[in-house]
């Protein structure tokens, strides 16, 4: 049986699904497949959006040829998916990016509560968050905003009962075995454990988004002094 499905979503997009449930490998597969399809420069396809277990293809509604050759496009995609899935995951290249994080204190107001909830001290929670490599599962909810995971089960928390109305830019927050990094000041309901001086998104940079789906992240604990220094430098 084929390990994927392709379904239309309205008349201008297609959703490819590679599996069920939240699974790091499926998610990485989606990111790699999206990259391969992007490299193929498929005619009429404007966006290729990987998510946890899907890749959405957006098709320009104003291109005649893209519409009339929909059958050809489907066939082409099908072959490329088969080829991409045939390669072992380990063969796909990825970037490794260090994310400096100042954990706890004023930058991570929920760290203490989280540690208490897990019956651990704060250092143990920081170690659990920063030792294991984590993957950018997808970007969403705001420009450049990554969902990162899938972390140790100790980070399997529901969101906060009451979302905060103001979460500062760069805040690193956890819930549901994932981390998100807020690219701009915004409301938010995740548990804030630290803050990074890096900017996730800057429209004035040549590449506005710092991260892309499929990147491998290493969270590196830094001191409040280093945070202030690095923030001033960026």
């Amino acid at each position: 049986m084929r390990a994927w499905t392709i379904e239309p979503q309205g008349d201008t997009s297609l959703i490819i699904r590679l599996g069920e449930g939240l699974d790091t490998d499926i998610c990485r597969r989606c990111a790699h497949l999206a990259e391969e399809l992007r490299r193929a420069a498929l005619s009429g396809v404007t966006d290729i959006v990987p998510a946890f277990n899907s890749v959405t293809l957006h098709i320009s509604p104003s291109l005649d040829d893209a519409l009339s050759s929909r059958e050809g496009l489907l066939h082409d995609i099908d072959e490329r998916i088969a080829a991409a899935l045939a390669r072992p995951l380990a063969e796909h290249a990825y970037r490794v990016i260090d994310i400096p994080v100042c954990y706890g204190g004023e930058y991570g107001p929920d760290l203490a509560e989280l540690a208490q909830h897990c019956n651990l001290d704060e250092q143990a929670v920081i170690a659990a968050h920063s030792t294991a490599a984590a993957w950018v599962l997808m970007l969403g909810f705001a420009p450049g905003a990554p969902y990162v995971g899938i972390h140790d089960p100790l980070f399997d928390l529901p969101r906060r009962a009451t979302p905060r109305t103001h979460v500062p830019r760069g805040s690193v927050a956890v819930a549901a075995r994932q981390t998100i990094i807020y690219p701009q000041d915004s409301p938010g309901g995740w548990h804030i454990i630290g803050r990074t001086p890096l900017r996730m998104f800057d429209p004035l940079r040549p590449s506005p988004a710092l991260l892309a789906p499929g990147d491998c992240l290493r969270f590196v604990p830094i001191s409040p002094e280093a945070f202030v220094r690095e923030q001033a430098a960026s």
Binding site: S13, T56, S60, P61, S62, L139, A142, G144
Partner: protein
Amino acid sequence: MSIRVIKPGMLSTFQDLGRTGSQHLGVPVCGAMDSRSHRFANLLVGNTHDAPTLEITLMGPTLRFEQTCCVAICGADLSPTLNGDPILNHRPLIAHAGDELSFGARRSGMRAYIAWRGGPTLTPVLDSASTDLRGGFGGLEGRALRAGDHFELDTRLDPMRLDKAQKLIQTLRLILPAALVPVTPGTPLRLIRHPMADLFAPDAWERLSCDTFRIHAASDRMGYRLVGPELVLRDRTPLLSEGTSMGTIQVPPDGQPIVLMADRQTTGGYAKIASVACVDLPAIAQHMPGETIQFKPLDLVQAHALLTRREAAFQQLAAQLTPLHRALDAARH
């Protein structure tokens, strides 16, 4: 030499066909809510269809021209005037330095598009001039127009060399292809069933395609919230976020559908029941909060045929306008 904003209007933002190509980075598409009117306005003045236009909302701005330009307005009829004299939507006109364009009472629709020959000079962000209001980038400083703003146009027209264009405009009789005529109010909008529609109770699809829905006051460029019979989710297993499109109809647990529009987030985790057909997105974008809408089903083959017909209509219209476009080209400084 530029265009000066005397009054900004209720919500006036520069938009093009959207910031496509960056959705995998979480960047919303934005762009014109009514892309049909946006493209029509660009076509009338001889721009490519992705040139930025000014999307104006309900209460239009007052703009003063400080140079000669060719301008056209399409979409909602917001009683446009030039120096106080009524002018018509869907017709190009030549305006001169000192002329003032303003708007009055709304007669129909919600959003109008102002296109200038050459388009405004804006710095693109990720290949688009569209204003992302939440992200605060694109367009003019990432925000809606304010009084006192001014912007330049890419193309300068020589007032001494505009005789031919002026004559062509005066005698212009456009035959609007049927595929480009706005639907009459009350016409049901066409819907394509979503594969996820099976997650809903058996009657949900029938409710959506037969009943009447009212557009909630909290509807905006991000989405249209609809108020009507509850569309009951049969299977409440939480879903993982995935890509959404303009027109995707998602249903939160309260059973009240939301039609995702231009400023939607790139992904969403609610169950989806249908998508508004691409050709009918301009129609929903022209509906006001408080108005009612109805839907009717359409299959994918029909939807693609309608899109193809719309593209052919744009080409037919472009052919009718070729002489005017040539005359405008010849009048460039």
